[in-house]
């Protein structure tokens, strides 16, 4: 087990990320509020650079009480990272695809210490 320094906490803005390279490993560290999450930069679909994609909120269908649709809505609390290769989306907090619980990102433990963000590598 070793730690990799990623950035000072104030270098990663809210709803942003830093993607670092450590040898053959690429890891994206994301910030949501005061929380940090680290995912391998490798989409489980076909190996795309998932962490280098756009960050957008989850989209849901806007249904009323009569089950009628009124288009789309964003869900502010469900923030997604989207693979720039094919559009696979994953919840940044859980690393899970919104429509397929088996599709998951490979994650790392994040340590925030003394104003710095680190990830633990086996």
């Amino acid at each position: 087990m070793r730690e990799i320094f990623v950035a000072n906490t104030d270098e990663i803005e809210d709803r942003e990320r830093k993607v670092i390279v450590d040898g053959d490993l690429e890891i994206g560290v994301f910030r949501l509020g005061e929380d940090f999450f680290a995912w391998e930069n490798n989409c489980p679909h076909s190996g795309g650079p998932i962490c280098q994609g756009r960050i957008m909120n989850r989209v849901i269908e806007n249904l009323d009480e009569n089950k009628k649709s009124h288009g789309f809505l964003y869900v502010d609390e469900d923030v997604h990272i989207i693979c720039p290769w094919h559009g696979f989306e994953f919840n940044i907090r859980t690393g899970v695809h919104p429509g397929d619980s088996q599709a998951k990102l490979n994650g790392y433990v994040v340590v925030v210490r003394d104003g710095g963000v680190y990830v633990e590598i086996e």
Partner: protein, 426 residues
């Protein structure tokens, strides 16, 4: 005495000094202007991990950047009035002149989620060769390809152009631009030429003019059209292609205007159905009207409908044919047997259920009839690893699908290094 605040600052400085020595290389966000070598850097990693430099790989359907080159292409229009009229479009830039694009190319990027889905916007410094060739080279190098067979974007829809003769003007201009301006640069780039079959004579002239031209791999009919491909007016064209030992490809495209698809309210639905629907119609006409019996040596290739539809159509036609064979009297075998002798492209390979995919590949004799296609740079592109990593194919079948089947189909020369490898394996 050191104050607590000062101590904290000293600790912070120590931490920052320690961290500065550990600074890692970082990767940028991929946006619409990112260099495709960067977008595809993981493709190169995959190629290296699988030793693709030792695998003969042909991508038989990549899309050339004809959109950026459109003003140049317009200069190849023969008709002086139409050529002049092209200059009246888009503030005199000729961009998009005469396009009849349905909502299709514009929806590729999933509302901004896939940046390159709006076309590659990257910078190309080398102005001595066409930008399209540079972009092809970048993709080939990253994916580990030996050949890339290219097809245009804007022409996918012109079979439905409201001005019928516009198909001929644009197809002729594109074919000339491709053959004279692009295919002369890099022997790894090959082209499928556009057959404007709304006018059979113009299509025949295209075959006469370009058979054997350097870089021309074969000919394509765009499938998004209302033209029964079994019509008698096309028999001469097919005979010419068969006689010339040329492959005939049918390239699918989306269609949101036809009556049934017009009910669909999301592009996911349009893409899922209509990329298949057009080739379902044409392949059914091709088989039921006995074209494989009329032109037994004419090789047909069906592009970009994926593979899942083939499990459906082989079973469906066999089942119906056995009850209504009198309506298809030219057939001497089951429809599925003719279909298993056609060629199909892999992309977009539906691979969420490996059992179904394996059964489909078995139904279409994939080890000899399936050819790899990337569809790069479109949003649902597939890399060579999509074939190489399949768990149920042996290595020989994978190598056939990735390269050798295409070489047979298009009479492509296999580079010497692979020939030596094949001999060594024997």
């Amino acid at each position: 005495m050191i104050q607590v605040r000062e101590l904290a600052n000293i600790v912070k400085k120590d931490n920052e000094m320690n961290r500065s020595g550990q600074e890692k290389k970082s990767l940028d966000i991929i946006d619409a202007r990112t260099d495709s070598r960067e977008i595809l850097s993981h493709a190169r990693q995959q190629a290296d991990a699988r030793d693709f430099d030792d695998v003969f790989i042909v991508d038989i359907d990549a899309h050339i950047d004809d959109i950026s080159a459109w003003p140049e292409i317009m200069d190849f229009i023969e008709d002086p009035v139409i050529r002049d009229a092209a200059g009246s479009f888009s503030g005199g830039t000729k961009r998009g002149a005469f396009h009849n694009g349905t909502p299709g190319l514009q929806w590729q990027n999933v509302w901004g989620r896939i940046p390159h889905g709006q076309g590659l916007k990257e910078d190309v410094d080398d102005k001595t060769i066409p930008r399209a060739v540079t972009l092809s080279r970048r993709a080939m190098d990253q994916m580990g390809l030996d050949y890339q067979v290219v097809f245009p974007n804007a022409l996918l829809y012109i079979g439905m152009h409201p001005v019928k003769e516009m198909e001929i003007h644009l197809a002729k201009a594109y074919n000339r631009w491709l053959v004279e301006h692009v295919l002369t640069i890099d022997p790894r780039v090959k082209g499928l030429l556009y057959l404007p079959i709304n006018n059979p004579e113009a299509a025949e002239e295209t075959v006469r003019k370009y058979v054997g031209a350097p870089g021309v791999a074969g000919f394509t009919i765009t499938s998004s059209r209302h033209a029964p491909i079994h019509s008698n007016e096309y028999m001469k064209l097919y005979a010419m292609l068969e006689e010339a030992d040329q492959a005939l490809a049918f390239h699918a495209a989306p269609n949101w205007e036809d009556e049934y698809p017009s009910q669909l309210n999301r592009f996911i639905s349009v893409h899922a159905l209509t990329f298949v629907l057009c080739n379902l119609v044409h392949l059914t006409n091709w088989v039921i009207n006995g074209l494989p019996e009329r032109f037994p040596k004419l090789r047909t290739l069906w592009i970009e409908s994926g593979l899942a539809w083939l499990a459906f159509i082989t079973q469906r036609l066999d089942n119906e044919y056995l009850m209504r064979s009198s309506e298809a009297p030219l057939l001497k075998r089951l429809p599925s047997e003719y279909i298993s002798e056609m060629f199909f492209t892999t992309q977009p390979m539906e691979r969420t259920n490996m059992n179904l995919l394996e059964a489909t590949m078995d139904a279409i004799s994939a080890p000899t009839q399936l050819v790899y296609a990337s569809d790069w740079p479109h949003w649902d592109f597939d890399l060579p690893s999509s074939v190489w990593d399949l768990p149920f194919l042996d290595e020989s079948a994978k190598r056939n699908i990735l390269g050798y089947n295409a070489a047979n189909l298009f009479n492509l020369e296999v580079p010497e290094k692979y020939q030596k490898r094949a001999h060594a394996a024997e």
